[in-house]
Subunit: 169 residues, 2 copies
Amino acid sequence: MLEPLPDEREWLNDVLIRQIPLGGAMQLSIERLDETGIEFSAPLAPSVNDKGTAFGGAIVSQMILAGWSLPRLLLRRADIEADLVIGRCEVRFVKPVTGDFRVRCDWPEASSLAAFIDQVRARGRGKLELAPECLIDSEVAATLAARYAALGKDSGAAAPGARDTGARQ
Amino acid sequence: MLEPLPDEREWLNDVLIRQIPLGGAMQLSIERLDETGIEFSAPLAPSVNDKGTAFGGAIVSQMILAGWSLPRLLLRRADIEADLVIGRCEVRFVKPVTGDFRVRCDWPEASSLAAFIDQVRARGRGKLELAPECLIDSEVAATLAARYAALGKDSGAAAPGARDTGARQ
């Protein structure tokens, strides 16, 4: 379930860079995608702020995308047509990001992933909590606690009235 | 205290668009700056995602900047040299952003602002909580609850060990 498929890194890169222009603007790059999780590398320059450190919004954006990528791949591997959205999240900025940085998200326990897929198959929707991080020089600079929701396209679960499931990623 | 100065809209625009390239990439524009608060307008296209709605990270980025702008202007009006950083925030996505959108932040009560400035002057650091929002067709699409911290440049308050005050904006 956690082994990458041969074509998916290229597919995901296209989504993150081309279909989401801001990912391209931040020069986001998939550095690692394996059975432990995903990691992006990102240069400081396009995400810099007026102080010469990384803009908090850029850090949040990349953490949101790192987290989103994992269930997105899981749905694709399971051949499930679903929108995947972020509903609520909490961000902590721990230290300034003074140079090029990395953003990563680990796969959660296999039982959580199986429950997520089972929910989407059975009820047309499922939730998954993830905890992406931003690293500078191997130290944690920011953390995200985010809840992602999959809304099956054939189930009607994406109908109005679903709260906290607004934005796409 | 809340009346805009003649040159500050241009000054702030330069910070948001040029000194923070991601603000430029999102084509962020100051639509309103007055004694009630600040409002940006933003086209969907540069912030779009793979579903044709606004990427959550773009929405968060603009809400962070709208909130940050207010105390930043306040410090400038008070002629205080300080870094202004975001320490912690919570985001709720309420509904999809399907077109061009707006982001706004109202000035909090005058007593909060006065206390913030007094803290920075007296102790070299001050905190302010703000609640920017994202609007689509006059309806709230996302909210941010954020804590901003000013760290006086002459006070040593920005020394290492200050937690939750990492990223610039």
